[in-house]
Amino acid sequence: MVRLLLFAGIREHLKTSSLHVEAVSIEELLNKLKYIYPEITNLINTSIVSVNQVIRSHDYKLEVDDQVAIIPPISSG
């Protein structure tokens, strides 16, 4: 089980800032989310993913207690 952090438009759509998800890779995690919440598919497809605050590619393997964040396009500044 990994802890998933949600921000901005994705957080608003799902009405929560975090979820716990069972997944062995980022790819599996994103596919699960898109299956359960098809309305956020576009938002997920334009986001990147960090694991323990490091940006990772979709084939990255997750471990129990990893802190995963879906990072939509940023607008800092």
Binding site: F7, A8, R11, Q53, A69, P73, I74, S75, S76, G77
Partner: protein, 142 residues
């Protein structure tokens, strides 16, 4: 050498941060940038803005940018961003870079702002007079 990075929900006052930095006799130039919130986007009237961050990662990215400035020759660096509700005409971000000479200070101040806009996980929502709202996306310059 001093590095200050912060994310704050109170009004951002540049002078508060400048006063925290002791000059050591080597600083010949201080370049500061303050980014302010505008009351319009294209033909829409903006009422207020809301900033949200992934705080731990945002602070870590700000520090990474400040450390890069120091490794390129800055003496002191201060990078601070607002979060939460930010009114029109308020300062949303400041970049302060102190160097021995002005050319490098100008260069690193611009570098720090562009880096903030590229890598720091902070999101801005514009709220308009018609009650609609948009999560903005930065246009990245590579």
């Amino acid at each position: 050498m001093t590095i200050i990075v912060d994310l704050i929900s109170e009004k951002l006052e540049l002078s508060n941060y400048l006063n925290q930095i002791n000059l050591n006799g080597k600083t010949g130039a201080i370049v500061t940038f303050s980014g302010l919130t505008r009351d319009y986007f294209q033909d829409k009237q903006v009422v207020t803005l809301e900033y949200e961050s992934y705080k731990e990662m945002a602070l870590s990215c700000l520090r990474q940018i400040a450390e890069e400035c120091v490794s390129r020759g800055a003496i002191n660096v201060c990078l601070v961003h607002r979060e939460g509700i930010v009114g029109i005409n308020e300062v949303s971000v400041i970049c302060v870079v102190m160097c021995s000479h002005r050319k490098l200070a100008f260069e690193l101040c611009e570098y720090s702002l562009e880096s903030i806009k590229q890598i720091v996980p902070i999101w801005k929502k514009e709220i308009y007079t018609d009650n609609s709202a948009t999560w903005k996306e930065n246009k990245l310059i590579n």
